[in-house]
Amino acid sequence: MYKLIILAVTALCAMAVYALPGETPPAGGQPKKFELPPRRTFTLDNGLAVTLVPFGGTPKVAVELVIAAGNIDESASQVWLADLTGMMLEEGAAGMSSEQIARKLAGMGGQLDVGVGPDQTTLSADVLAEFGPEAVAILSEVVRAPMLPGSEIERLKNDLIRRASIQSSRAQTQALEKFREVLYGDHPYGRVFPAEGILQAFTLRDVKDFYDNNFGAARARLYVAGVFDQEAMEASIRQSFSGWADGPAPSANLPAPESRREVYLVSRPGAIQSSIYMGLPTIGPTNPDWLALNVTNFLLGGMFASRITANIREDKGYTYSPRSSISVRRGDAYWAQRADVTTEFTGAALKEIFFEIDRLQGEPPPAGELQGVQNYAAGRFVLQNSSRAGIIGMLAYLDLHGLPISYLENYTENVMKITPEQVQAAAKNYIRDQQMTIVVVGDSASIAGELGAFGPVMQ
């Protein structure tokens, strides 16, 4: 019943395009079929949707509860309250202390991981196969009946103050912070770091209110992948989660990011590299052009063999780690190119990045080059669906964006259909030079002068 995906990785691509001296690489055998692992989905009476995916042979199982609660649910005076709430969830539940929970899960070969992101909070544990149902029971207690003990809050606030201080001392994070501030302004996504005073002011009441307002079965989905006894797992899930109240509906506080061609210079006196973060809001996974934009991104800057990397790293040596990517949240996405470049080549690197964007907008890529990128996308898709965490990640991605399973089933086929003209159009329509926000964190004394060539410089 699950559609087969054919690995349409053809033999003729690279070899025909790149003329080689002497021997040519052997073509290899016939492509094999890649099948998505079978899965089973059911929904509890309280609305909690559950997906089970038996996969692999290593005797471990991953359990992940994804909740539509995150920084998007914070007000301007609540920056990182979602993070503090996530930490407080780890401080004991249903009469068990955090030490007891830690020991129990360690005895199963796992631990409780709570991750807080822009629009999701995840509770997960990856344990030895035979302990899957028990781990589910613990996760359910942590999310349904957290103790939220006031005795721990001052310590955790101080941990967050320290974390903010350390993270915001990195040039790349400073660039991200400015970029998000410019694009998102007053929306929560524009607030990457809290002022220390905000963290200090949090009270237990704030945490409890945040929990009450944002946690419940109606906002959650549960995923299980790996080796497990399906019957025992389902029984444990029904018993553990059926009593969870459905809770509040997800918020609909979607952003409306804006971007203009401007350069933001963040001063880092004496910096020996400039950290570039440039990009603009773009389309997300529900747009019909999404796959074309993905392939465009790979070809332009999103893989090692991409044009920007070949140019500013492998030809010019300006940088070690250039990368473009599309950053996605529910109802929101932006494209960005990042690179840490030697200070004296800051302007030169920006020039080459725009050169590659303009070149792609100006002419469709050669069919052979595109074919190679399509093969890369198809191969990467297989790797992404070949691990417990990867499988859960892909299914959660579908659910976050409201995509049907056919998105995965037809992924390879649809990627292979993309034409050079579609790639050129995607570059033109969605990676628009004239709307590019350019953030540079670096030594302003050395670089301020040359940045004016790329747009009005805002300090």
Partner: protein, 473 residues
């Protein structure tokens, strides 16, 4: 992309976790009793081990879960034994392996892999340099041809070398020089803790040494270390072993072996008292603290005991140090540590090694108060026997961690262990017996090991302080 892998030893569950191994899905991995001892059939990795006439070690491991295959070539040359006047050269050379070989020009190796739907990387570590590809399994022959092509000989121009010198210098800048806590503690600590140059020099390289490298260095290094009799080839995944072996023979078999230099003396002089150092980091905003102890010889009974001590002391939220430094006191928000932490794991090295623990703290907290809390926890494993329950939990954690290593990065973690056990121990089957070694450890051996190896006279402490003043010690 190519270069040091900076993430720490314990692979977290990130999106790159890998395909599983052979056994058909069953509900358990052989029953596990609550004391951590196993009963029933154990999970095991299928292995075939061969040596070609030219000395190349070939390890084959079938896993047909997904139609992908991992090819990994490990050379027995790590940064420890790079030339003295060329610090960082082992790593710079790793970059050169992507710059052109007999039949593949610059960028062509990378394009060959990626345009065939694969991913690739290389890394340089204490005792090996590796190159690996994860590709759709029908491309196995293509990849073996390409890896054999660069084992046969490089074709490097002065321009390629200059380009990669610039790239590597940018790599050192982005990972060390232009970032707070750069190199702390993974690059710093061996330089303070060890005394033998091979173990204690700057592995990433002094910028002047990286700039000074020339084409003669490249040729000489390749001729000395990059021969089949100094390497292991692992082919793991959706393969038919006999076919994979035939392909390995076809492409690697004709490459001639070379005479290998004698292994230098890596031994460390004994340490008789604690060493303390501090360094200033002008980019850091908070102080940080790291401490290291020298580890027992790899795969010795005491080493297995030390692996369990590591679990008890620092791995996970049930660990002594997490409870003492994070949970009970808030001295820090998290503690990380391990054997070969930051540059690998407890299995993939072959020489003197450190168990290192590190953390960030506040300006108001004196390093000595943290060390006092650490000493209290370490005294618990020195002064008394750990309970059966604790030992059992440590064994379960180590088994789960081993499974995570095997799956790490779409199965690359399994290839890593197979390659290292082949390269260092001539025994890739160790991967299926390693857990047995931990199961042999008694509470008494654990205590004896702690008394000898977790003694402050074997410790090195490194403080990192934000600010601009010169270090006081």
């Amino acid at each position: 992309m190519t270069g040091f892998m900076l993430h720490a030893g314990k692979p977290l569950l990130i999106a790159a976790l890998g395909a599983a191994a052979m056994l058909a899905a069953c509900s358990g991995g052989g029953g596990v009793k609550s004391n951590g001892k196993k009963s029933g059939a154990a999970f095991s990795v299928p292995i075939e081990y061969h040596k070609l006439a030219n000395g190349l070690k070939v390890v084959l491991s079938q896993d047909r879960t997904v139609p992908i295959v991992t090819v990994a070539v490990y050379y027995n040359i790590g940064f420890r034994i790079e030339p003295r006047e060329r610090t960082g050269f082992a790593h710079l050379f790793e970059h050169m392996m992507f710059q052109g070989s007999r039949n593949l020009g610059k960028m062509e190796f990378i394009r060959l892999i990626q345009t065939n739907g694969g991913t690739l990387n290389g890394s340089t570590r204490f005792d090996f340099t590796n190159y690996f590809e994860i590709v759709p399994s029908h491309k196995l022959e293509t990849i073996l041809w390409a890896e054999a092509d660069r084992m046969s000989g490089l074709a490097i121009t002065r321009d390629n070398l200059s380009n990669q010198q610039a790239v590597v210098i940018n790599e050192v800048k982005v990972n060390v020089l232009n970032t707070p806590y750069g190199g702390f503690p993974w690059l710093d600590m061996p330089q303070y803790a060890f005394k033998n140059w091979y173990n204690s020099h700057n592995f990433y390289g002094e910028l002047g040494d990286i700039e000074a490298a020339n084409l003669d260095d490249v040729r000489s290094f390749f001729d000395t270390f990059y021969s089949p009799n100094n390497a292991a080839l692992v082919i793991a995944g959706d393969i038919v072993p006999a076919e994979a072996l035939a392909l390995a023979e076809k492409y690697f078999g004709p490459i001639p072996s070379a005479e290998l230099p004698a292994r230098p003396d890596l031994s460390e002089p004994p340490q008789s008292e604690e060493q303390r150092f501090s360094r200033i980091d002008t980019l850091a905003s908070r102080p940080a603290l790291a401490f290291s102890y020298r580890v027992p010889e790899r795969l010795s009974p005491q080493w297995y005991a030390f692996g369990l001590l590591d679990q008890i002391l620092v791995q996970g939220e049930d660990s002594y140090l997490h409870n003492a430094l994070v949970k009970r006191t808030g001295l820090t928000g998290s503690v990380s540590g391990g054997i070969n932490n930051g540059l690998g794991n407890k299995y993939n090295y072959n020489g003197p090694m450190l168990w290192t623990v590190s953390l960030f703290h506040d300006n108001e907290t004196a390093a000595d108060s943290i060390l006092a809390a650490v000493d209290t926890e370490i005294a618990r494993v020195r002064d008394s026997l750990v309970s059966d329950e604790e030992l059992g939990r440590a064994l379960i954690k180590i088994r789960s961690e081993l499974y995570d290593y095997l799956e790490y990065y779409n199965g690359m973690g399994k290839a890593d262990l197979l390659a290292c056990f082949a390269l260092f121990d001539d025994d890739p089957g160790m991967i299926n017996r390693i857990e047995e070694g931990f199961l042999q450890v008694t509470p008494e051996l654990l205590q004896q090991t702690a008394l000898k190896y977790l003694d402050s006279s074997r410790r090195t402490v490194l403080e990192l302080q934000p600010g601009r003043q010169s270090a006081s010690q």
